[in-house]
């Protein structure tokens, strides 16, 4: 096992910068979720760690050793491709055994290790099949078994679950996490599904237009997004813009919102509020406590989702969003005038 260090890496395709000065430490044995919109450079970064592509600037090290001169086949990586890339001319067994046989592992040991990998991904009895005779989920597990059977230092996963339907996907997420924990391998997982990234990763990095926007443990990024992009890309957020005065933001209509930290004074800035932190009261309700922000709004839409209710609200022509638990109280009607309350603690200043 080994940690992966990416330091100041840039990659240009013509004049277009696919990656620009990206530095990330992927901790040893950790599960790192690489998140970002389409075209943000996730695959490009992964391919450079694998050795299929090379940075125009910066350095990549695996296990403390610079890999600039190390060809793909000597980097000891395992990779699962988005389309699985199983060898169609080989059986499931031969697919998984491929990495061992090219390394000259003895026949008997190969058989044992393949068997173990097959058990790990719960594919026993399918060894003789060809890839085209497998379901999508089975193919994905073969790809995973093939990638880990060689005991690589690093496991690279490029949106491996994106082709699966929802229920299979959740099952595979749990499976993948179990296998990763069992083997204890440094894993870098590319996805553009924020929920997948949040539930599976120990750490998350958000890429945007080839730059690292923010990085940290999932809860930290979710609770403390550093930018409007991070706030809206990872989870839902209501954004309020205004001018700064200490830790207060004056909105255009004169309302003051108190943030939990001070902002650089005098500038225009924004703050974010997660929809689940907003409480809705009927306007006639009790007066709010001191450490609260409040806004008047009108409910425009109510979306029932079983365990929760999503309200879309109109404030000053802007649409806000609030989640309420389905606790059995009478829900608010569409068109009702209400007051929104939330704690100063939940008001996140954005630079």
């Amino acid at each position: 096992m080994a940690e992966v260090t990416v330091h100041g890496v840039s990659r240009f395709f013509g004049s277009h910068a696919a990656l620009q000065d990206v530095s990330i430490d992927f901790p040893d044995g950790g599960f790192y979720g690489l998140l970002g919109p389409s075209g943000s450079g996730k695959t490009t970064l992964l391919r450079m760690i694998a050795g299929f592509d090379f940075p125009d600037a910066g350095a990549i090290a695996i296990g403390g050793e610079d890999v600039a001169a190390l060809p793909v086949q000597r980097r000891r990586i395992g990779m699962v491709f988005q389309n699985y890339a199983l060898f169609p001319n080989m059986s499931v067994f031969d697919n998984i055994a491929f990495g061992l046989s090219v390394r000259g592992v003895a026949r008997k040991e190969t058989r044992d290790r393949v068997e173990k990998a097959v058990d790990l991904v719960q594919l026993s009895g399918l060894g003789a099949r060809r890839p085209h005779q497998l379901s999508g989920g089975q193919r994905q597990r073969v790809a995973l078994a093939r990638a880990i059977v060689t005991r690589p230092q690093v496991l690279l996963l490029d949106e491996p679950l994106s082709a699966l339907d929802k229920s299979l996907r959740v099952g595979m997420q749990i499976e993948l996490k179990r296998i990763q924990r069992e083997v204890g391998i440094t894993t870098i997982f590319v996805t553009h599904d924020q929920e997948e990234a949040l539930t599976m990763s120990d750490r998350i990095g958000i890429l945007r237009d080839g730059r690292l926007e923010q990085e940290g443990p999932p809860a930290e990024i979710y609770d403390n997004p550093a930018s409007e992009f991070a706030a809206t890309f990872l989870g839902d957020a209501n954004i309020f813009r205004g001018t700064v005065d200490g830790n207060t933001i004056h909105l255009a209509d004169g309302t003051c919102l108190h943030c939990r930290e001070a902002l650089p004074p005098g500038t225009r800035a924004a703050c974010a509020v997660r929809p689940e932190r907003i409480m809705i009261r009927s306007t006639a309700g009790p007066v709010e406590a001191a450490a609260m922000n409040s806004l008047p709004a009108r409910i425009t839409k109510r979306i029932f989702a079983g365990n929760s209710i999503t309200y879309l609200l109109n404030w000053q022509g802007e649409t806000l969003k609030a989640f309420a638990q389905n606790t059995g109280t009478t829900p608010f009607d569409e068109g009702a005038a209400v007051t929104l309350h939330w704690a100063v603690e939940s008001t996140i200043p954005l630079s």
């Binding site: 299929f52 086949q73 890339a85 199983l86 060898f87 090219v102």
Partner: protein, 290 residues
Amino acid sequence: MTAAPPPGAQHSQLRPALPLLLPAYLWLTLAIFLPLSAMVFFSFMTDLPLADRSWAMTLGNYAAFFETDLYGRLLLRSLRLGLEVTLYCVLIGFPCAYVLAKVLKGRSREAIFLLVILPFWSNGLVRIFSWAIFLRGGGVIDSALNAVLPFEVSVDLMYSYPAVIIGLVHSYLPYMVLTCYLTLQAIDDSLIEAARSLGASRLTVLRRLIVPLAMPGLIAGAVLIFVPVVGSFMEPRILGGRSGTFYGTVIEDQFVAVFNWPLGAALSFILLAVVLAVLALAAPVLRRQT
């Protein structure tokens, strides 16, 4: 378990296709089956059924093949020629197709592709005679080499076995390049990357992945080349001169020079049978490869 197709399912699929297939079958009947059956008929005759000649049915034309060892030797020589030309086409055509399909991109690919299929567009005779200019002593190659080298050399390949090989390889190479190109292009790049990430060197990837996946193209190309080369007569005659006597030229002689169509037809059918037998023998081996 998938359900077995209901009886007659194949029929019901065939019937709507029948009007579409009819022209093809009609054409096949007219263009191949009729002349071929005429030839079969000829091959059992003592002489051409012309007005002033009498003829009878005979097996003599086939027997002639076995009466001297000349035809057998020439047939072996032609089979060897077919194998050699096919081999050279594989050795040159496969790497060429690989570069076209996997290395070159965009404009340069189009340009090289054009160069490869250019022989297809030129007349066969023109092609062969232009080789003659190159290969003969005091020809282009000869003069060019002597202009560069300090010592005198004489490259006279004209009227030799190598000249025949060069001419045939040039004529038939595009088949191999095209069939291999098609199968190679269908191989997903991520397969190659996956193999490399699993620790395979470029050579191992070629041996274990690319060649097996390209095998259908290699086989198709080999068959497309081997079969006509075994019966070829134009290249051997023009470029081979006196050493250009092959089974194909003998058949041509029967039709064009000696005017013994029955013997020519019989020799042709023996060739057809031998080629089919060779392909049938090779089939299990080739099938195992894919």
